[in-house]
C-alpha cells in the first residue's frame, strides 16, 4: 500500500510566485500511485506508458494497471502508474494522484483517491464537489490550454502529452529523458507529429501548477543498478521469451487479451527465419502449430479461455501422439464471452483437466511481467524434454500492465531451434516404453528402413494402432509418468516471510505482487504472515506438504469462484492432492486484481 506522498489538508495556495516556490518544503517520496482517468481515445495509455518507461530508465521500479473498455472505440478507460524507489509489487490499492479528464472520470474514480491525495482535473470538463475537503484540488483547463498550444487542427488531441508535461513538473521528472522518449515514440512519424507532441509537453510543463500544490515532490534518488532495466508489458515479455526459447513457428486466432502476442510473433518471427500464421479458427491454429511441431519445430499456439475450449480436441491428440506444443492462455473473465477485458484466474481447471480421456499436460503460470519472459523458457524446456503439451497461463492484468525489470542475459539464455533430422538407427521406436519419446521428424532418414507414424490412436511402441488392454495400460502410464518425473525435478517454491507460523498464503499467477506486498505490510506491522507462489501448477512440485505442515492455516488466494464446496480452483486441487483440511480459500470474482487490503483482511481475520 502506498504510504506517501504526505499532503496535508487543503491549504490556500499563495498566488503568483511562479515556478518552484521557495516556501514549499521539498519532500522525498519513495513511491507514488498516479491514476489517469479518461476515455480510451485520449491516449492516456501512451501517457502512462511514457511514465513507466521513464521510471525504468531511471532504475526506478514501476508497475502499471489499466482497464480498457470492450467497446470498439471509445469508452471510459484508466491507466494507473505506480512508480517507486523501492520494490513495487502491485499497482496500488489507492491513488495518490488522480488525473480526471471528464466529469465521469471524476465521479467514477474519486473514491480511489486516498485521503489527502491530489486531484488534478480538467477544469474545462470537471466540476469537483466543492464540499469535498479531503483532497487537494488542482484545476487546470487542460483541454483549452492544449488547443491553445497546438492551434486549431489538432483540436484537443495532445491532452495526454500536456498532462505528461504537468506531471513532469510536479514530480521533477527528468525532462530531457522524457523528451527523448517522446522523440523515440513519435520520431518515426512525420516531423509535424513530433513537434506537436513536444509543444503539448512544453505547454504542460510551463503551466504554473506549483502554485496550487503544497509540497514539492522528488523521488528518492535510486542508485543506478549495473543491469539495465527493460520496460514492457506481459504479452511482450511472453512473446520475446518465446523467441529467446528458440520458438520460431506458431499459429493463432485473434482474441482479447491474447492478440498482441500473436501480433508481435507475426511481425518478429520472420526476422529470425520463422513464421507465425493467422489461422481461420482456433482449431485450425492449434492444428497448424501441431503440424509445425510434428515437423520438428517446437511451435506455439494460444488464446483466451473461449478459444482454448475450441483447441481442446487437438491438445488431446498432442498428449496421445506425444507431440511437444506450447499453449498460451491469457485468461480473462468467463465463462463464454464473459468479461473480455477484465482479469480472472478461472481457467485453471480447463488447463489441467480440459481434455477428453486421460490426457496429461503440464501447466505453468507466470507471476509477474518479468516472469512472463522466463516462464516461456521453462515451458519450452519442459515441452522439448518430455515431448508433451505445456500450458502457459497468463491473464489480462499481466498482459496489459507495464513493469520494468532487469535486462535478461540473452547470450546465456538463447536457445537453438533447428529440427533434429539426423538419421535414426534401426533400433528407433517412436513410442518406446522404457524411455521418453523423442520423435524423428519427417526428413530424418530411418536407417532400419521403417518409417514412423505418429498417431492419436492408442498404439504400440512402433506406432501401430492397438486395442490391447495391456498396451493401453502401459502407454497411459508412460504418458502419466512424464508428469511424475517432472514433479521430482522442479524446485520447491521458497517461502516469503517466516518459514513457519499461523498463516501461509498460497498464490499462483498474477496475484504474486499483492500477496507479497500483503506479507510485507503485515510484517512491518509486527504480524506474522508468509507466502509461497506456485509457477508449476500441474504437476505440483514435490515437497509442498512439508511447507504446509509448518503453518496452522494454508490460505489459497486466487481470482475465481469458490464453487459449490467453498474452495477456489487451486485450493480444490491442493485439497484433493494433500487431503489437508487446513487448506482454505480466499477468492474473488469482481474482475479486478486483488487489493493488498483485501488479502490482509482475508488472511488476518
Amino acid at each position: 500500500m502506498s504510504t506517501s506522498p504526505v499532503v496535508e489538508e487543503h491549504e490556500t495556495p499563495s498566488p503568483d510566485t511562479g515556478g518552484a516556490r521557495a516556501d514549499l518544503r521539498p519532500e522525498h517520496i519513495r513511491d507514488a500511485v498516479i491514476r489517469l482517468a479518461g476515455n480510451s481515445q485520449d491516449g492516456i495509455q501512451s501517457a502512462g506508458a511514457f511514465l513507466a518507461r521513464l521510471a525504468g530508465r531511471s532504475s526506478q521500479d514501476v508497475m502499471t494497471y489499466m482497464t480498457i473498455p470492450s467497446t470498439i472505440s471509445g469508452g471510459a478507460s484508466i491507466f494507473q502508474v505506480r512508480i517507486g524507489s523501492g520494490e513495487v509489487l502491485s499497482a496500488g490499492d489507492e491513488a495518490d494522484f488522480l488525473v480526471a479528464f471528464y466529469q465521469h472520470s471524476y465521479d467514477e474514480h474519486i473514491h480511489y483517491l486516498r485521503e489527502g491525495g491530489v486531484l488534478l482535473y480538467d477544469s474545462d470538463h470537471v466540476q469537483p464537489d466543492p464540499e469535498e475537503k479531503r483532497f487537494v484540488h488542482v484545476g487546470v483547463p487542460i483541454t483549452g490550454l492544449t488547443i491553445e498550444a497546438l492551434g486549431g487542427t489538432a483540436k484537443d488531441k495532445g491532452k495526454n502529452i500536456f498532462v505528461l508535461g504537468l506531471l513532469a513538473k510536479i514530480f521533477h521528472f527528468d525532462v530531457e529523458k522524457l523528451k527523448k522518449l517522446i522523440a523515440e515514440r513519435f520520431g518515426g512519424k512525420s516531423e509535424d507529429v513530433l513537434n506537436t507532441a513536444l509543444m503539448a509537453f512544453q505547454a504542460g510543463f510551463a503551466y504554473p501548477v506549483g502554485n496550487v500544490l503544497t509540497r514539492l515532490y522528488h523521488f528518492e534518488p535510486v542508485e543506478a543498478s549495473d543491469r539495465a532495466q527493460i520496460t514492457m508489458d506481459g504479452n511482450q515479455a511472453l512473446a520475446y521469451g518465446l523467441i529467446a526459447a528458440g520458438v520460431r513457428y506458431g499459429a493463432g486466432y485473434p482474441i482479447t487479451p491474447w492478440s498482441s502476442i500473436m501480433e508481435i510473433l507475426r511481425a518478429e518471427l520472420p526476422k529470425y527465419g520463422g513464421l507465425f500464421v493467422q489461422a481461420e479458427d482456433e482449431l485450425g491454429a492449434v492444428s497448424l502449430a501441431l503440424g509445425m511441431s510434428y515437423a520438428g519445430h517446437l511451435a506455439i499456439t494460444g488464446s483466451a479461455g473461449p478459444g482454448i475450449s475450441l483447441k481442446t480436441e487437438a491438445i488431446g491428440w498432442a498428449s496421445m501422439a506425444e507431440i511437444p506444443l506450447l499453449v498460451v492462455n491469457v485468461q480473462r473473465g468467463g465463462p463464454s464471452t464473459g468479461l473480455p477485458t477484465n482479469v480472472e484466474q478461472s481457467d485453471l481447471y480447463q488447463a489441467i483437466f480440459g481434455g477428453h480421456g486421460d490426457s496429461p499436460r503440464v501447466v505453468l503460470a507466470a507471476s509477474t511481467v518479468e516472469d512472463c519472459f522466463y516462464i516461456a523458457l521453462e515451458a519450452a524446456r519442459i515441452a522439448r524434454k518430455y515431448s508433451t503439451p505445456v500450458f502457459i497461463l497468463s491473464d489480462t492484468s499481466l498482459a496489459t500492465r507495464i513493469e520494468a525489470f532487469d535486462e535478461p542475459d540473452l547470450a546465456q539464455l538463447m536457445e537453438n531451434s533447428a529440427p533434429d533430422i539426423s538419421p535414426r538407427d534401426g533400433e528407433f521406436k517412436p513410442y518406446a516404453l522404457d524411455h521418453l519419446t523423442h520423435h524423428a521428424p519427417p526428413g530424418s532418414r530411418m536407417l532400419g528402413g521403417k518409417y514412423p507414424v505418429v498417431t492419436g490412436l492408442e498404439h504400440d511402441e512402433m506406432g501401430h494402432p492397438t486395442g490391447s488392454p495391456k498396451l493401453h495400460t502401459a502407454m497411459t502410464a508412460k504418458r502419466r509418468r512424464k508428469l511424475q518425473d517432472l514433479a521430482a525435478e522442479i524446485p520447491v517454491p521458497e517461502v516469503h516471510g517466516d518459514p513457519e507460523g499461523d498463516v501461509l498464503l498460497v498464490g499462483w499467477g498474477s496475484t504474486y505482487g499483492p500477496i507479497h506486498e500483503a506479507v510485507n505490510v503485515a510484517r512491518e506491522r509486527g504480524e506474522t504472515l508468509s507466502a509461497i507462489h506456485l509457477r508449476h501448477i500441474h504437476p505440483l512440485p514435490d515437497g509442498l506438504e512439508q511447507i504446509f505442515s509448518r503453518f496452522q492455516r494454508v490460505l489459497v488466494v486466487e481470482m475465481n469462484d469458490e464453487g459449490p464446496y467453498g474452495y477456489g480452483q487451486l485450493a480444490s486441487i491442493l485439497r484433493a492432492r494433500y487431503c489437508d483440511p487446513k487448506i482454505r480459500s480466499l477468492t474473488k470474482t469482481d474482475g479486478l486484481t486483488f487489493r493488498v487490503r483485501e488479502i490482509l483482511e482475508g488472511a488476518l481475520q
Partner: protein
C-alpha cells in the same frame, strides 16, 4: 541419441516393397485399395528421397492411409488434417506433403479448413476419396450423399442438398482441381502426378466406392457396369479448329460449367492456374526481412529489440 550411426552412402531404389507398411484394414472390394496402389506407383515412378515423403490424414476409413504407407506420417484428428499439413508444409519446404481423407473429413467437419487451405494456396497435394457415405461409423449420410440416399440418419432418404466438390474447391480458390475414379488406375496416377507437380493447393477428388454401405453408387461412371467414364478434353493450344471446343483449365467459369454437369459428369483436370503460394509469399517476406537486418544473428536481433525497450 544419434551418435556413431553408420549412414549408408548408397540409397536403395524406392520400390513398392519399401513403401508398403501394414496390410490395409479396409473391407474387401473397397475402392481405397486402388487409390493406395496408385499412390505407391506414383512414388515408385518419381523416386523422391524416402525421408522427405510425408503421408498425413485425418479420420475416416480412407484416413487410415498413413498406416499402410511406409513413409513419415501422422494420423490426426477428424477434419483438421488440412491445417496440420499446412503447418508441415509452411515450416518445412524440403518435404513433399501428401494428405489423404474422405468426403466427411474434407467437406463436412473440415469444410472451413479446406476453404482456407485453398484460399491461402498452401503447397500440398490432397487426395479426397469420396464414397458419398460415412463408412467408418457404418452408414450415415455424408455431405456428398445424393438426395434420396437412405442411411441410418436419413431412413426415408437424404433431403439435404449435397456438396459439389469441384464447385466448392474452385470457388474456395484451390489452384489445381481434378476428379478421378478408383476404377481407373492410370487416370488416377496421371492426376496425382499432375497434382504433385503443381505449385500450390492441389486437390484430386477420387470416386471410391464403399461396397459395404453404398454399393453401386458409381455404376453410372463404370463402363463395365454400363456407365460412362468421360475424360475432359483439355485445350492443346495447337490452333487446330477443334481446339476451340476444348476445355481451358485456366478458365474459372468454364471449369464451373463443367462442374455443373449432372452425375456422373466428367473426369480430369477442371482447373489449374498459377498463383503465388503462401509458402513462397511468406518465404519472400522472411528473406526480405533478413536482408534488411543484414542477416544478423538471432541473439543480435533480440538484443537490439531489448535495447529499444530500455
Amino acid at each position: 541419441m544419434t551418435t556413431a550411426i553408420a549412414i549408408p552412402e548408397e540409397r536403395e531404389k524406392l520400390t513398392k516393397k519399401a513403401l508398403t507398411a501394414d496390410h490395409p484394414t479396409w473391407c474387401p472390394g473397397c475402392g481405397d485399395f486402388a487409390v493406395l496402389a496408385a499412390y505407391y506407383k506414383v512414388l515408385e515412378k518419381r523416386q523422391l528421397p524416402h525421408e522427405n515423403i510425408v503421408t498425413l490424414a485425418g479420420i475416416g476409413c480412407s484416413s487410415r492411409f498413413p498406416y499402410f504407407v511406409n513413409s513419415h506420417g501422422a494420423h490426426f484428428i477428424h477434419g483438421r488434417a488440412v491445417p496440420l499439413a499446412s503447418g508441415v508444409s509452411l515450416s518445412r519446404p524440403d518435404l513433399h506433403v501428401f494428405l489423404f481423407g474422405g468426403d466427411g473429413d474434407g467437406f463436412s467437419i473440415g469444410g472451413n479448413h479446406l476453404e482456407h487451405g485453398a484460399r491461402k494456396n498452401i503447397n500440398l497435394t490432397y487426395v479426397i476419396m469420396d464414397n458419398f457415405v460415412y463408412g467408418l461409423t457404418k452408414k450415415q449420410t455424408s455431405p456428398t450423399s445424393p438426395i434420396g440416399f437412405k442411411s441410418k440418419t436419413d431412413p426415408t432418404g437424404a433431403i439435404d442438398h449435397p456438396v459439389n466438390p469441384m464447385k466448392k474447391l474452385i470457388s474456395a480458390g484451390a489452384t489445381f482441381v481434378a476428379r478421378s475414379h478408383a476404377t481407373q488406375v492410370n487416370h488416377m496416377i496421371q492426376m496425382m502426378e499432375r497434382a504433385m507437380d503443381h505449385q500450390g493447393f492441389s486437390v484430386v477428388e477420387i470416386l471410391s466406392e464403399c461396397v459395404e454401405f453404398f454399393p453401386g453408387a458409381f455404376d453410372s461412371s463404370i463402363p463395365r457396369k454400363g456407365g460412362t467414364f468421360t475424360v475432359i478434353d483439355e485445350k492443346k493450344w495447337d490452333n487446330a479448329p477443334e481446339d476451340e471446343a476444348r476445355h481451358d483449365v485456366t478458365d474459372e467459369i468454364a471449369a464451373y460449367r463443367l462442374a455443373n454437369l449432372p452425375f456422373p459428369g466428367l473426369f480430369g483436370v477442371f482447373y489449374d492456374i498459377d498463383r503465388p503460394t503462401k509458402n513462397a509469399l511468406e518465404k519472400k517476406w522472411i528473406a526480405d526481412t533478413r536482408t534488411k537486418l543484414g542477416n544478423r544473428s538471432d541473439l543480435e536481433i533480440l538484443q537490439k529489440t531489448f535495447d529499444r525497450m530500455k
